[in-house]
Amino acid sequence: MNYRDKPALREHLAGEYVLGTLSGAARARFKGWMIADAALRRTVDEWQRRLAPMAAAIAPVTPPRRVWLAIAARIAAPSSSGPAHKGLWENLVFWRTTGLAASGVAAALLAAVVWVAPERPQPAPAPQIVRVPADVVPPSYVAVLADPMTRKPVLMVAAARKSDQLLVKRLDDSIMVADKSLELWALPAGQAPVSLGVVAPENKYLLKLTAVADQSLGEIPQLALSLEPKGGSPSGVPTGPVLYTGPCIKYW
């Protein structure tokens, strides 16, 4: 179903998503759309703001003490300096599908860009203009996907402009999950994610693109990895949480 150029449908579905009447399958599909569609997330935010005050009618009930004990035990994790690496469910897709949360995600994506750039010395030296020889690195598309929580890079991909071979290199072996697959997605601005394939068990390998990189990655600002059933998403859109994302950059 094409929902993108149908503002009334987007509005209806966002309201029903927040109200909670969508069936499991429709809810999962809608979440898949939200991941790649910031405008849709804003529409959802507006519905959260409209409807959430209804909860004021619900009488408070004090939870049993064991709930607090369990929470306190979980947040007392050894790494107290920042959010612990939570892996599967504490992730980007949670925030993107809850609504009313955006700034931290943007910061995490920026962090991935910063990682690609060389570290800036302090104080900055006088700029040196150097002519880069054309053959140092061939014109390529490069993306580094990182964990939005820890900012740790986990996977890098690159492809020469005219090649349909995408080099995939895993930077963190711990991202692989038994009995599940990680699927790589191109996230075109304002359109549904396009699958690039499932991450192979090999540490470094070539993944065949459906078209040369200029076509398949030319208009892609961002890539993402989602957790999917073994073998990849059965529906052609991400069905599981998006665990890692990174900007896709033209290098030439």
Binding site: E16, V18, I75, E90, V105
Partner: protein, 182 residues
């Protein structure tokens, strides 16, 4: 209340555990009430509450006071988790004991009256009051009981399409009533 909770969330973003304890004390009864109302099972509601507060702790830095009132933000997190729980594939198949319908009957004392008592929700209560009865009933059942379109249809003994239309039109009117300028 809103300012206090906002301040506590900001302190949580700085990893202040004491602030998190105070935040839990100030908000957990409200949020547990929400989870319990939607899930209708204490063990599920406890589970969802626990997950929600761990998320709130880990992501307090994402909260932006300009974006939403703090309770709206936290309530959305809890409701979203409740709905994910109810819509998970292993559960959604059926309602063999008619547990949903029975629980929906016991909807509790007039939510509209309770809403009208709350300053935040007064405009919403007013707009809900102006909906057609069927639209209002469908929307309130969905919000308070977590019923899906098809569960609503079964409960109200109406065709699925009819119930979907009530929900859709009701939401549309609610929006127009809350934001008449647009």
């Amino acid at each position: 209340m809103a300012e206090q909770v906002s301040g506590l969330l900001a302190a949580c973003a700085r990893r202040d555990r004491e602030a998190f304890t105070l935040l839990y004390q100030a908000t957990s009864a409200k949020l547990f009430g929400v989870a319990l109302r939607i899930l209708r099972r204490e063990d599920w509601a406890e589970e969802v509450l626990q997950e929600s507060y761990v998320s709130i702790w880990n992501h307090a830095h994402d909260y932006s006071a300009g974006l939403a009132a703090p309770m709206t933000w936290m309530t959305s997190i809890v409701r979203n988790r409740c709905l994910d729980w109810l819509r998970r594939p292993s559960r959604e198949v059926s309602d063999p004991e008619g547990e949903l319908a029975a629980a929906a009957e016991a909807g509790g004392p007039g939510p509209l009256d309770a809403l009208a008592q709350s300053i935040d929700a007064r405009a919403l209560a007013d707009c809900l009051g102006r909906l057609e009865g069927k639209q209002r009933q469908a929307i309130m059942l969905a919000f308070f009981q977590g019923l899906s379109h098809s569960e609503l249809a079964a409960h109200l003994r109406q065709p699925l399409g009819t119930v979907k239309t009530w929900v859709r039109r009701g939401l549309g009117r609610l929006k127009a009533c809350l934001e008449p300028a647009q």
